[in-house]
Amino acid sequence: MSNVLALLAYKLKMFFGPSYRGRFGPLPLIGLAIMLVPTGLGMGYAIGSYMYTVDADMAIATLGVLFGAGLAFGFIFALGVGVAAHPSELDFLMTAPVRPREYLIADMLFEFSTLVLTGGISMLSAVFGFLWGMGKPAWLVVPLLLVAGLFMFFVFAIIQIVTVLRITRPGGRVRTVALVLLLLSLLPLAALANPSLSATVRALPIPQSVFGTVAYDIMFGTSVSLVDAAVLAAYMVAVGAVWLSFSNTYFFHGVRPTLSAGLGQIDMGTKMAQQRRLIGVFGRTTGTVYLNVLTGSDLSLMTRLNLVRVWRDGSFAFIGFLVAIWLFSGLSGTSSGNSTGVPITLLQAGTWPITVIAINWCYYERGNLWIAVVGGKSLATYFKGLMLSLMVIGFGITAVILCVMTAAGHSLRARDVAFTVVSLVGDSVVATMLLTKIQVKPGAFSAGLLVVMFATLMSGAVFGLAASLLVGILGGTTALMMAVQTAATIVFAAAVALVGMLALDRLARGFEFS
């Protein structure tokens, strides 16, 4: 076991080293942990408050869902990669006389440390929030964290068992069993869907229910029943025994590198490989979605170029998926309410994709700009084309949402239309202007990315609010006033776009490629 600490130290340095050695030292890591505290506290409080209102069976089933989600995530991870290996580990550590068990122990400790160091504070705040929501004393956090820690090692051991078996026994049988177990780990969800099943879920001797029962007993100060303790111990011993029997089986030949970048880092090599894979899938449509280089103005060519890129690199599919979720949650959220207006949050669905595409542009497209730079043509045309493509995408998404919402019987207020249209234009303008100036470097915690993300969303919202206020002031529901409001919206949006065009003319002149 002499190599375990050396392996663990290497893994920790590979993962935390880049952010620690960055310009701001450990501050980004601390900042990230602190930023997650309110989220943890809020989520814990919400679950705790819910559990306070339900009976013991339902509360245990809810805890079972949480433990089950952890278990399901473990199976998914095991079916995908299973161990968190940096590419260099494959080249230098796995070719050295390292025993598989030493590696597995180091990997388990690494994953535990990583979870604690990145999410420990938010996890702690979630447990505090949970106890607060349930009206329980804060000291209970200690036994609850012990149960959580025990559960984490239980899941880590299962992940490693499945990984070793999957690699050493190819043929699909291990995968099938793991998939079945994955589905079984989500069993407590049945109680949430149908509360009458909660007693049955509680009675099942499955790990999630057992861990849930023990956690519940601790919270309510009731002594943990001998049966529950025995079942829990049996699970731990069984998993431990299986882990012991398989952990020295050679499995390095099937390990795939996963952690190619440290915390907050961007690995451009891996990103490019991912992009190539996606283009391999979406690039099959070159016969139907293509760039006609022989027609249209230069501005039209650049706009179409960027739209083709968004289609072929898979961004469009990703955005479609996001919008579908957004739409689903929006529809289900509004169907139970009394409002017949389209929620403004839903209309803002087009703004996030603009940010996502702008960030993807930094990763994948900026490097290709040498073609335009050495070509001798003004880069302003390229950037204007990019801006127009962002607008087209934003408006396309919003149009789809509006069609669906209108079909579902929702109506639209003029000032919301003004907000949406102008903020989409504003987002596109500001995002493109930033892209002429900001270079996202593949270091840890890129400030450039945060600027693109927040400045775009915030400034778009400011433009939108201004337009919304203007239209609100104009008021009126007569046909004439509606026409005036529509005209005001179009003029406002056109003015923002025009200012953007003029600004891009100037900014593109100062663009620095490298």
Binding site: G283, V293, G367, K377, F513
Partner: protein, 266 residues
């Protein structure tokens, strides 16, 4: 006397991290000649090339390309220059045809002549079978050929190539070398940076050896032999090694060690 295509005078470039890439580099290239830029890694070849094509600005010095002072007039001269970068970033999502079309449009080739020019280049460089395949599916050699096609699509008067033969199979290298010789015969001035000294010896009519950001010697092989006081049968590789060793590379120092738990440890 052939016309001067590139005249760089006392170029200086210091990067943000303090690395001095160019230290008063000067060189001159003429039409119809293939000039090889050779030098050790980090000598400043790529920096000099990037300045000439407008991807970098020098801190000091003057560059005239095709009669234009490129610092005063950074756009006009580009219509006559072709550039193939080392390991070029290509838009992976475009097809070979679309990419060449896009470059053609950027290079102001009239739309009615573009399709014919693309087809001509694709046929010459054996890219036809991959015309409608995305760049992401091309092999390294095919990518290099595509980048070469993009650099020459507008029939430039000056062609600047940074390691153009890297990763290309012997047949592909032969094809590109043939094309370069042909272009030079027709009056195109070619500036090629390479580490392949045997290729430079056979392909280039003139060679500039660059070391530590300076052009330490320029001339044809016979001229280099005489300037370097080398023997009649010495190869370019031997002359190169002799000159760069004479210039001397300092022994690198071990940088300070940094660990995860202590910021700087010696």
């Amino acid at each position: 006397m052939p016309a001067i295509t590139v005249q760089a005078e006392n170029l200086v470039k210091v990067y943000e991290d303090g690395t001095q890439a160019l230290d008063r580099l000067s060189l001159t290239a003429f039409e119809g000649e293939i000039m090889g830029l050779i030098g050790p890694n980090g000598a400043g070849k790529t920096t000099a090339i990037k300045i000439m094509v407008g991807l970098l600005r020098p801190d000091a010095g003057r560059v005239t390309v095709l009669g234009h002072d490129i610092l005063a007039d950074p756009i006009e001269y580009k219509s006559g220059v072709g550039y193939m970068p080392e390991a070029p970033a290509l838009p992976e999502y475009l097809t070979t045809y679309e990419f060449l079309g896009y470059v053609g449009r950027v290079r102001n080739i009239p739309k009615d002549k573009l399709a014919a020019r693309i087809e001509e280049l694709m046929r010459e460089l054996e890219l036809m079978p991959k015309a409608y395949a995305t760049v992401s599916t091309l092999s390294k050699g095919m990518r290099a050929k595509l980048a070469f096609a993009a650099a020459t699509i507008h029939s430039p008067k000056l062609l600047i190539l940074d390691e153009p033969l890297l990763g290309i199979d012997p047949a592909g290298q032969h094809l590109i070398k043939d094309r370069l010789a042909d272009m030079a015969k027709r009056g195109c001035s070619i500036l090629v940076s390479t580490h392949q000294l045997d290729t430079a010896e056979r392909l280039c009519s003139k060679v500039a050896i660059i070391n530590k950001g300076r052009n330490i010697i320029t001339g044809d092989l016979a001229g280099l032999r005489s300037q370097a006081h080398a023997g009649e049968h010495q190869t370019l590789e031997e002359i190169f090694l002799k000159l760069t060793e004479e210039a001397g590379l300092p022994e690198p120092e071990l940088p300070p060690r940094r660990s995860l738990f202590s910021r700087r440890v010696r």
